[in-house]
Amino acid sequence: MSKTLYLLKPGELTLKGGNRQSFEAVLRRNLAALLKGTGAQVSTTNGRFFVRCPEGSELQAEDALNHLVGISGWAKTRICEKEKPSVLAACVEEGRLLVSKGIKTFKVEARRTDKSFPLNSYEIECQAGDAICEAFPNLKVDVHEPEGIVSVEIREKAFIYGIANQGLRGLPVGTAGRGLLLLSGGIDSPVAGFMMACRGMSLEAVYFHAYPYTSNEARQKTVKLAEIVGRYSLGMRLFVINFTPLQMRIKERSPEEWRTVLLRMAMMDCAEKLAIRRGNKCLVSGESLSQVASQTIENITCTQSRVTLPVLRPLIGTNKEQIIGMAKKLGTYETSILPYEDCCVLFSPPHPILRGDPEEAWKLYEALECGDLIEEALRAKELERCGYPAKP
């Protein structure tokens, strides 16, 4: 059976020194996990990863490569003997593909790790460029801003590819510990989770469900978001925690304007307890400074005051437009904007406190006496396994 070959360029991990091998091992393991079920085989040579995929599994394999964090790019690649005529013929074929895509300008980029090849990199670029121009006179060389690039790599064999796809870059998931993502059905938190996955962090997630104040559709929406983010983070356990009794306690015992801040404090408190029990090293939140009343620096200080684990907020300095842009690229936006919002009428005060005093917040939180309720909520948690590549 013929096989399609893909060449993958590792991303940031190439900058690693002595640890590079361990990063590569994680990347290879992740790649194998994402490719499970495709019949594809993974191999590595100096600085390059190769995937050999059986005919018929290409779409699945390419989808896996689009979800692999830690590579700067990938391309469907021709492989041939390290002989000049074969290499030039392969370059002409790649040129044909560029033409078929409507590309008008190109350049050839060559890299030669096997110095015994008779042409040096510059000579390969010149001769391959000439061969392509001769075959397709409408295709012009532009070395500064080409629309397409034909790449030639002379290694143990010659590898030639024209149309390359961008990778997600970052570091392989699993190289930066594991964090607990506070996931809601909104736009921000899935993006925050994705950003941490791109920094190599494995993820678990927690969702605070408040049925009947929150609909089951909202829960399903969050599960779907976890599925999408989980595809990038090599799977994600989502813990669903019933927060209704806590919300009711907050409503009964706290001043109206403080409800949102106190609810977030309770969420952080509960999330940290879960994180510690699960061995997660940090909390990840989708907060962005001053986006809403509970995200002013004063209120963030209040909500953070209950936890000792670091709270990572990758979106803190971004604006809504940027976050929406990222959510669209990630593929969560359309799900996040589904109209199953939490029914917060009872809990969202019309005039929430904007600059809460941490000391006051602490006192109000203590007065809630919600320790037992949090323990009960944690005991009754439900687990959803989301985005596992090998999920049947």
């Binding site: 049925y211 009947p212 104040y213 609909s215 089951n216 109209p339 029914c343 009872l346």
Partner: protein, 381 residues
């Protein structure tokens, strides 16, 4: 949870068990086909039309089978597009989305509809209609429903039609959405002096996808096709649906049946309303509604519970085994409540409204259970 109890009949009714007896095997032919199977189907269809006509006390030639209430309403409203001029028309502020939203479409197309406001009890009074007509003397159509699908408010159709008929100048086409009225309150299309009316089967225990349009005189319609239903609603006819609709109307829309069922329904609703009035957190919409209030259909009730959003109450009751809804099922994904807004309720109150509706199999025991379920849900909320 012992058993599910269904209280959303205004959205769709439980199917009538007797519909299983309908002969669909011998009526499968295309009623337009010239051979025996086609003729047989045509005969069945016309028989169904006659039976509907008899139940509704209108001439059979005035009835056209459609796909349901929405299409019946749309056929009438869209016929305005074929008039030589973009005429003025009126519709009540509490109409079902199938009327209201089609009126908005016409507005986008350059028509200028005017809204007939309602009283605080959600009813269009003859006085309000008079004023609306005085303001819009060139109106050529008025769409007013007989029973409101969210509150159960019964309009004085006879009184309203008198106002319309007394108007000087060109006549006003009076269209009545009778979807929630048929089989629920006594219908008198002749006294109501309607020019057109819409019906649907699935609110009466029939299948979805079949309805009726009553037209006193044929209209020029926008859609064309194979000429079926005398060109008013072209498309291969739904013979088995028509037979089912006829069976439902016979069973529920005849005056005797309506009287009997309505009386039983009023008793049950009286119990529900009385029970809710004892609950300090419950409020009826409108608050003036009483246990045996003849201004309202005994099949539909709108209520709210202090500080509990309607959608939360719906979910809480769902968990307790009861199916109720917030407003019209046709707009349940929209947070807007135009009907309640028209009745003057503020945003907070509108958000709290839920609709409870009963049907042919509802029992007093169901009502007792519902009142308990509401107590239980409120204790938690």
């Amino acid at each position: 949870m012992d058993k599910r109890r269904y209280f959303d009949w205004a959205a769709t009714a439980l199917p009538l068990p007797s519909l299983g007896d309908i002969d669909i095997k011998n009526t499968f032919g295309n009623p337009s086909s010239p051979y025996a199977e086609g003729r047989q189907a045509k005969e069945a269809l016309e028989k169904a039309r006659s039976r509907c006509a008899k139940a509704l006390k209108v001439p059979a030639e005035c009835l056209y089978f459609t796909s349901g209430g929405t299409e019946s309403n749309a056929l009438v409203l869209h016929s305005l597009l074929l008039r030589p001029k973009k005429v003025k028309f009126l519709y009540s502020a509490v109409e079902h989305p199938s009327v209201r939203e089609n009126c908005l479409v016409l507005e986008k197309l350059g028509f200028s509809p005017a809204i007939i406001e309602v009283e605080k009890d959600g009813r269009v009074s003859p006085e309000i209609l008079s004023k609306a007509l005085a303001k819009n003397p060139d109106a050529r159509l008025a769409a007013i429903m007989a029973v409101n699908n969210e509150t159960g408010a019964i309009m004085d159709m006879e009184g309203l039609s008198k106002i319309l008929r007394a108007k000087d100048g060109a006549p006003v086409h009076f269209h009545g959405d009778l979807v929630q009225a048929a089989g629920k309150i006594p219908l008198d299309i002749r006294s109501w002096d309607l020019d057109s009316a819409s019906f649907t089967a699935h609110k009466l225990g029939g299948p979805r996808g079949i309805g009726l349009l009553y037209l006193r005189k044929p209209l020029e319609v926008l859609y064309s096709g194979g000429g079926q239903e005398r060109g008013i609603r072209p498309g291969t006819e739904n013979t088995s649906g028509a037979l089912a609709l006829a069976a439902c109307l016979e069973q529920y829309a005849s005056p005797d049946a309506v009287k009997l069922e309505q009386e039983k329904a009023r008793q049950r609703w009286g119990h529900l309303i009385g029970g809710l009035k004892k609950n300090p957190r419950a409020l009826l919409i409108p608050e003036s509604r009483t246990e045996d209030d003849l201004r309202f259909s005994p099949w539909i009730l709108q209520a709210r519970f202090k500080d509990v959003p309607g959608e939360v109450m719906v979910r809480a009751l769902d968990s307790e085994g009861f199916a109720v809804s917030t407003g019209s099922a046709c707009s349940s994904s929209s947070p807007d409540r135009p009907v309640l807004e028209a009745m003057g309720l503020d945003e907070h109150a509108r958000l709290e409204g839920i609709r409870i509706s009963q049907g042919w199999s509802t029992t007093l025991e169901d009502i007792v259970a519902l009142l308990e379920g509401i107590e239980k849900a409120l204790a938690f909320l």
